[in-house]
């Protein structure tokens, strides 16, 4: 592990990551929710209008009247297809059959009466995951550093990996983490501090 790696917003270790694949190719991004560019929910007060109406340009297309060859990449037009915005926004397209349905792991927190389950696939990286955990269990995590673990709070997020070992969240590249994480535990107190200082 490079000693220069620090915990920033995104533990991007792509540069040194070992993975199968041609150099220069990138894994396809997990599909974002389908929100067409030009959808503007005009019922909530927005800070300024966000979407220009593209219908003027489309009108000029229609004016020709001839059978039109479609341009290669079409801009989304306001209000087309005619689906109400709540329906467009409240639904995310399913991944294709080939993709697994999601990586659900149980998360326990010391002192909490029951466990939670989260889908690791929903997060793009450690920062999002940790933020979600903070929101879910109402605590703060503190700054990660490779040397000292999580400073600035009593809690440390840990996980059990495939080998049955308990690891500190954040040490390995994100993709390796989500493929090896079986469950998580948010440790508190002296146990947590002990883990950090052993790094």
């Amino acid at each position: 592990m490079e000693s220069t790696v620090t915990y920033e917003g995104d533990l991007n270790l792509k540069a040194t990551e070992l993975r199968l694949g041609l150099p220069g190719t990138d894994e396809s991004e997990r599909e974002k929710p389908m929100v067409p560019v030009a959808v503007r929910n005009n019922k909530r007060p927005l800070t300024g209008s966000t979407d220009e109406s593209k219908s003027a340009s489309c009108a000029s297309d229609a004016r020709d009247g001839d059978r039109e060859t479609r341009p290669a990449a079409k801009e989304q037009v306001v209000g087309w297809p005619p689906i109400r915005s709540y329906r467009k926004n409240s639904f995310q397209p399913k991944k294709t059959e080939a993709d697994p349905a999601g990586i659900y792991v149980k998360v326990s927190m010391d002192g909490a009466p029951y466990l939670r389950k989260i889908d690791l696939k929903l997060y793009k990286g450690y920062s999002e995951l940790l933020k979600a955990l903070e929101d879910m269990f109402k605590f703060t995590i503190g700054e990660y550093s490779e040397r000292e673990g999580y400073n600035g709070s009593e809690y440390a997020p840990t996980y059990e990996d495939k080998d049955g070992d308990w690891m500190l969240v954040g040490d390995v590249p994100w993709d390796m983490f989500i493929s090896s994480c079986k469950r998580m535990r948010i440790m508190k107190g002296s146990e947590a501090r002990g883990l950090g200082s052993c790094a």
Binding site: C58, A59, A62, Y86
Partner: protein, 609 residues
């Protein structure tokens, strides 16, 4: 309430319309007269007869016979339908119809649903509720569609009508939990509170807790559009003390565990919206829940309408098996399920009349529907990927299968990426009962993907063969020919939606000159100009509205219409950022007949000619 059926049957399969409330004799003024005059006798007879007349078209005809009949009809009309809130003022309506118990009021044009109308355009409920507070103290029912409703409005409504029974808000916005709390608290006779596709603001008021503590008359509580949590504990208690509750539609924040608890308390439900239908937050209980669910459904012997499934875990879908055989309405349009998953339930649904699905079920799923649901009246297929060049899941194959299997089909809304004329023609021949045909080929100007031809023939066959057709929405590559067919054969068409279609003004002229029953016409992005607009002057007073956006209209043409038709309100709608009418091109035209002339509440971006 759909206007496309004579009996207003909505997704619930419940008949709305004129009936359903007390028919009280309104001839109270004669009670003190010992022997009424012969004329008055005739009037009394007429009034009592008219009490049974509920169709508003019949009532309209009655009111035109003579002055005496006009008066009698006005005194006995208890349900008032106003299709355009700006067509008549509250004062005028109240002056004419004095005994109204039920109001249906519609506001914004339908294209507002697709972000084509800027916010704050209008359609305010306030002037209506204010006027009715004094004019209709015995008001019982209010149904609003696409109106702007505030918490203050709801407060006023709640306090003004002691006998208030039903509030149905469809596609409305501007109100939140405070307004709902007022209604829950003050309307002690409330039977129906239905929020359908509204935008409800979260003021963090626990409105569910505001219903009367001793018990309620609630028959229907629909809040599946509410995008935030409601207090579940309070909801459970509410259901427990609402013995008349038959319709309950939960929002997506009610998970399976909570749904179960409610079903146990309300086994006599007829209509159930199942909330998220997804994993509980307590993983340990999942298996137990699945078993309990099947039992809970088995216990609901009266269920005929199911919806919800907002975040469905498909594995749980088969738990609804016990109710499938009796279901008449099933809404899976938020359920991302595939063909196999649909089949596991649909094969039991022999009585199904209304089905809404996502195209995730693919053509194969629709084939299963066609094989089983012989009583199907209404089908809606929504797209998972609502983009022009998105993924295609259903096609002409599914449409053809449905047409061959579901011969009693009356209404269809079908989103797809590709279609053929043959399939549409086949549907026109196989389904002669079609009243509503709405086909949305999501790619603009897309021809028949097999022949490369425009879709003219297909839509032409629909208007020609479906003799009962009243509502039509067209799409795909269409030339003027398609519109000539519509004008020639679409003699009963009342509502027409056009987008990205036609070549010249002739297309619009065919329609305006050929369709005598045309009531609502909405057009976008089609090359129709002033000549076409002016060809409809003979008909515009018979229409509720005309919407044209991104067409070829000019300021001059619109001014000409306004000049020649004084009782038409001609609105030009700009984007709110634009200061004033910049050039001669009219981007959005919305015009409608009105008895009141120019409205006084128009915002700055609307110019009324």
């Amino acid at each position: 309430m759909s206007e496309d059926e004579d009996r207003t049957v909505d997704l619930d399969g419940v008949s709305g319309g004129g009936a359903g409330f007390n028919h009280e004799a309104s001839s109270s003024k004669t009670s003190c007269c010992p022997s009424p005059s012969p004329d008055r006798v005739l009037e009394i007879v007429l009034e009592n007869v008219l009490l049974f007349l509920t169709s508003r078209r019949d009532r309209s005809a009655v009111s035109l016979v003579c002055k005496s009949w006009y008066r009698a009809e006005a005194l006995t009309r208890s349900e008032l339908f106003i299709g355009n809130c700006y067509a008549v003022s509250p004062r005028r309506a109240i002056e004419r119809f004095q005994k109204v118990r039920s109001l249906v009021l519609k506001g914004m044009p339908r294209f507002a649903d697709f972000s084509l109308v800027p916010p704050n355009w209008g359609a305010h409920f306030l002037p209506w509720v204010s006027a009715m507070a004094t004019g209709y103290p015995w008001l019982e029912k209010v149904y609003l569609k696409r109106m702007s409703v505030t918490d203050d409005d709801l407060n006023l409504l709640a306090k003004s009508f002691p006998g208030f029974k039903e509030l149905v808000l469809v596609c409305c916005e501007g109100f939140g939990t405070s307004g709902l709390a007022a209604v829950a608290r003050e309307c002690r006779q409330l039977r129906v509170l239905d929020l359908i596709d509204d935008e409800v603001m979260d003021d963090e008021v626990d409105w569910i807790s505001c219903f009367p503590e001793t018990g309620t008359c609630l028959e229907s509580l629909v809040f599946d559009c509410v995008e935030f949590h409601v207090n579940f504990g309070a909801l459970e208690l509410l259901v427990a003390r609402s013995p008349s509750l038959r319709r309950l539609k939960l929002n997506r924040h009610v998970p399976l565990g909570e749904l179960l608890r409610l079903m146990v308390r309300a086994p006599r439900l007829t209509h159930l919206g199942t909330g998220s239908f997804s994993l509980s937050e307590h993983p340990a209980q999942e298996e137990q829940e699945a078993a309990s669910l099947a039992a809970a459904f088995a216990a609901c012997k009266s269920l005929i309408c199911l919806s919800g499934f907002r975040d469905i875990v498909p594995d749980y879908l088969p738990t609804i098996h016990p109710v499938c055989a009796k279901l008449t309405s099933l809404n899976l349009s938020y359920a991302n399920i595939n063909a196999e998953q649909l089949k596991s339930v649909i094969y039991h649904c022999h009585k199904l009349q209304t089905l809404w699905v996502l195209d995730s079920v693919c053509d194969e799923g629709l084939q299963a529907v066609a094989a089983t649901c012989k009583e199907l009246h209404e089908l809606r297929v929504f797209p998972m990927d609502a983009r022009e060049d998105g993924q295609a899941f259903v096609s002409e194959v599914g449409l053809l299968a449905i047409s061959e299997g579901c011969r009693k089909l009356r209404s269809i809304l079908y989103f797809c990426q590709k279609m053929t004329n043959d399939a549409v023609v086949a549907m026109s021949q196989n389904c002669p009962e079609l009243v509503v045909f709405r086909l949305c080929i999501m790619g603009r100007h897309r021809p028949d993907h097999v022949t490369g031809e425009p879709m003219d023939i297909g839509f032409g066959a629909i208007v020609m063969n479906c003799k009962k057709l009243t509502r039509l929405a067209v799409s795909g590559l269409l030339t003027d020919k398609a519109f000539s067919y519509i004008g020639k054969y679409g003699k009963l068409v009342r509502t027409l939606s056009v987008a990205f279609a036609g070549n010249t003004d002739m297309a619009l002229r065919y329609v305006l000159e050929g369709c005598p029953k045309l009531l609502k016409l909405e057009i976008r992005d089609s090359p129709f100009g002033d000549t076409a607009l002016l060809s409809g002057l003979h008909h515009y007073y018979n229409m509720r509205f005309l919407w044209m956006s991104s067409c070829k209209l000019s300021l001059g043409g619109c001014k000409e219409v306004a000049r020649r038709m004084p009782q038409l309100v001609v609105e030009l709608i700009r984007e709110p950022e634009e200061e004033d009418i910049v050039d001669d091109v009219v981007e959005k035209l919305y015009m409608y007949r009105s008895l009141e002339g120019c409205r006084l509440d128009a915002p700055s971006f609307v110019t009324i000619l």
